[in-house]
């Protein structure tokens, strides 16, 4: 067989123009057509080492599903993914593939890596359209497991355990399931319909989801330990870090969680048809350089009446933790980047935010994180006039679930301490994963933890 020429660039994923898409909250990416998907799938050389699988926290059989796409067997491709990952349409959209599977793709050494993320989303979406296969379930074991939180970690662990025949109940604090997939990630990046579609797997598996149920309040962890044979905590990183500068409590200053929850979960972009308002004024500043900051900035850009949106970040664009793709999308949509800039204080008038005093920064030696440390340039202070500011400077584990719990090891930034192989906590029969053990991390990291925990819980249930 002769050597075939491999196209060096990814087949671009069709997306809506920036001008068009900032008028609404519909998805930016249109996704591959079957023809484009096949063409991209053919770029995979089916290398025998498949480093991409190693690069994936849940070990999706990447070459196999891509081969099925190349053969036009799209539904089979989705089912192949689902052997390891029940949420292909979600992960295809929000995983940082460039740091995981695509980072180590062999094709990437010759040019751009295979667009694994877009192919995964394509397969998931395709199957959803033609009809999802009912997942297989083992015979009932009679064991009961409680899962705290219905975000990516909770869903994954629940699905794995239910498939193994255990009876699973998920406890969700909010009125909708999905966790950060619903309240955090905006619809233009991950439509809620996609999330609800993939959540159907829980129904199919007979997982009970109890909404409006706050563990730590409605019930405490100890009660769950008595009522269930094992507990998995995946309560996420629902504790926003605040910037401790003057004027923090002026009207118009939000934490990213509040801003995104109002818009995404509560539908504030459809106010007053939906009841929840969000106040923005004309000029919005977003403080931070991560994915959440990009989500907030792009959300603000789409809201009625907003004219100017700034990203204020203390290092340079190169150091931003956000995905390159997100930065690119934000810039395309007209978000103004004020890098090497640090907020000093919020300025108000009659209790309302009017501006933000900033100082210019320069980069010095790298710090512990390996990124160059920003230091203020004396006397470079200046003011940006704004009506609203949103802090997207990170979040930590929400402590509510751990309240009044004895014997649970908690780390110095509030995270639950676990054994890294099994996700076991210091409490017998209690496991934890996702942001509650890492602080702010990724959807796929949470899912990776959840799969590890599910395997460990399964083992634990049979030992006991």
């Amino acid at each position: 067989m002769g050597k075939k020429e491999i196209r060096k660039e990814k087949i671009p994923v069709p997306e809506r123009s920036a001008r068009e898409r900032i008028k609404d909250f519909k998805e930016v990416k249109l996704g591959y057509t079957p023809e484009l998907a096949i063409e991209e799938a053919k770029r995979c050389i089916q290398c025998p080492t498949a480093p991409c699988v190693e690069g994936c926290p849940v070990r999706v059989p990447i070459p196999q599903f891509i081969e099925l796409i190349a053969e036009g067997k799209f539904v089979d491709a989705a089912r192949k993914i689902k052997e390891e990952n029940v949420l292909p349409s979600i992960c295809g959209r929000v995983c940082p593939q460039e740091d995981q599977c695509e980072k180590v793709c062999v094709v990437g050494k010759l040019g751009q890596p295979v667009n694994i993320g877009a192919l995964e989303a394509f397969a998931g979406d395709y199957e959803a359209k033609v009809g999802v296969e009912k997942p297989k379930k083992a015979e009932s074991t009679g064991k009961k497991v409680a899962v705290i939180g219905s975000g990516p970690g909770g869903i994954t662990c629940a699905a794995d355990l239910a498939k193994l025949g255990h009876s699973v109940t998920i406890f969700e604090a909010l009125h909708e399931p999905g966790g950060v997939l619903i309240y955090g990630i905006p619809e233009f990046r991950l439509p809620n319909e996609i999330v609800y579609g993939e959540l159907d797997v829980l129904k199919e598996l007979g997982v009970e989801v109890k909404l409006n149920y706050v563990i730590g309040k409605t019930k405490v962890l100890e009660e769950l330990r008595n009522e269930f044979d094992a507990v998995f905590i995946a309560s996420g990183a629902g504790l926003p870090y605040m910037l401790n500068i003057e004027g923090l409590n002026l009207n118009g200053v939000y934490a990213a969680n509040e801003f995104l929850t109002r818009v995404n979960l509560m539908g504030a972009y459809r106010f007053p048809d939906y009841d929840t308002p969000v106040f923005t004024g004309k000029r919005v500043a977003v403080i931070g350089g991560g994915n959440t900051a990009m989500d907030v900035a792009r959300t603000a850009k789409r809201l009625n009446g907003v004219e100017e949106v700034y990203i204020i970040y203390r290092r340079s664009e190169k150091e931003m933790p956000a995905r390159v793709e997100e930065i690119h999308h934000a810039q395309e949509e007209g978000v103004v980047f004020q890098t090497l800039t640090n907020p000093v204080k919020f300025l108000g008038e009659n209790g309302w935010l009017k501006g933000i005093e900033c100082v210019r920064m320069e980069l010095s030696e790298p710090d512990e994180s390996g990124r160059r440390r920003p230091i203020p340039i004396e006397g470079s202070n200046f003011v940006i006039d704004i009506d609203a500011a949103v802090l997207a400077i990170g979040q930590g584990p929400n402590p509510i679930v751990m309240e009044g719990v004895d014997g649970l090891d908690i780390g110095k930034w509030g995270q639950i301490v676990v054994d890294s192989e099994t996700c076991k906590t210091s409490l017998e029969g209690v496991f934890a994963g996702g942001d509650v053990i890492h602080g702010g991390s990724t959807v796929i990291q949470a899912m990776g933890d959840a799969r590890k925990a599910a395997a460990a819980i399964h083992e634990y249930l049979f030992e006991n």
């Binding site: 604090a173 009125h175 409605t218 009841d275 929840t276 106040f279």
Partner: protein, 281 residues
């Protein structure tokens, strides 16, 4: 299912609902609240648990019609179901045997004050309750408070019922009478709580206020309910809602309660266009 079992109008624009919520009733302690959402497009609003009945599996909520959601809520009747009720949220009231406790509630502040006073009584304290209203026809729950309190003082701004004046006037009289007061607990309109705090600070009487800021999730996730207490930023939903009243920045709270006023006004206007003025369909 959060079914409304009983509903009655307590006063002009104030409704009382007894709602089926057995798991919440089992856990609810004085000082705690729930978050309620009444339709698929609805907002989440915090409401204090005014009373609970573990045997019946119910909680009692008191609602003042001020915005779209509360007006809409007043359209619901017995047998209707509230879409979402979550709780009990917030820290329970810190209770101990202080001696003589004065519980001060203004208007809807009676909701937290009622449940808190029950706890204060169970902790073997002597209770004087001061409840303040603008006029006689706005007075409610007097009998209920009488049952818990050793002494009850009702004030109205215009003197149409009880003592003429504000709750702080009644409190001043009590202080002037020389009677020892070991603790004051207050809930109601922010300017009232502020006035109570200023008065008791002068006499160094420990005082706790139950705050009512804007909330969304109610679990410490969003930070909408930020208040400044003793110079520190606190989340009222998880760190409170009760704080040392002498350390709360009430003016900031008053300002923050205005953050969405204009938008909320628009929403209410839209709602009332479709319904008659009183909010009923």
């Amino acid at each position: 299912m959060y079914r409304i079992l009983k509903k009655r109008e307590l006063a002009e624009n104030v409704d009382e609902f007894v709602v089926e919520a057995s798991e919440i009733a089992k856990k609810a302690e004085p000082g705690q609240f729930v978050i309620v959402r009444i339709s698929k497009k609805g907002e989440r609003i915090p409401l204090t648990i005014a009373e609970k009945d573990c045997d019946a599996g119910t909680i009692t909520l008191m609602v003042q019609r001020v915005g779209k959601t509360t007006f809409h809520l007043s359209c619901l009747e017995e047998g209707h179901v509230i879409t979402d009720v979550v709780g009990p949220l917030g820290k329970p009231t810190h209770l101990e045997k202080w001696g003589h406790v004065v519980c001060i509630g203004g208007g809807l502040g009676l909701a937290p004050v009622h449940h808190i006073a029950q706890g204060v009584k169970d902790a073997e304290n002597r209770i004087t309750t001061i409840m303040g209203f603008r006029r006689e026809d706005l007075v409610f729950w007097e009998e209920k408070m009488k049952l818990i309190s050793d002494r009850l003082i009702v004030t109205t701004n215009d003197g149409s019922y009880g003592m003429k004046g504000l709750v702080t006037d009644a409190l001043q009289e009590l202080i002037d009478s020389g009677e020892e007061i070991n603790m004051v607990i207050t809930a109601g309109p922010v300017p009232m709580m502020k006035a109570v705090a200023e008065l008791t600070k002068k006499y160094r009487i420990p005082t706790v206020a139950s705050l009512n800021p804007v909330m969304v999730d109610g679990t410490g996730m969003c930070g909408a309910c930020r208040v400044t207490v003793n110079g520190e930023v606190k989340f009222a939903c998880v760190d409170g809602p009760e704080f040392d009243a002498h350390k709360v920045e009430f003016d900031e709270l008053i300002n923050r309660l205005n953050m969405f006023k204009t938008l909320e006004g628009e929403a209410l206007k839209e709602f009332q266009k479709k319904h008659c003025g009183c909010g009923k369909e």
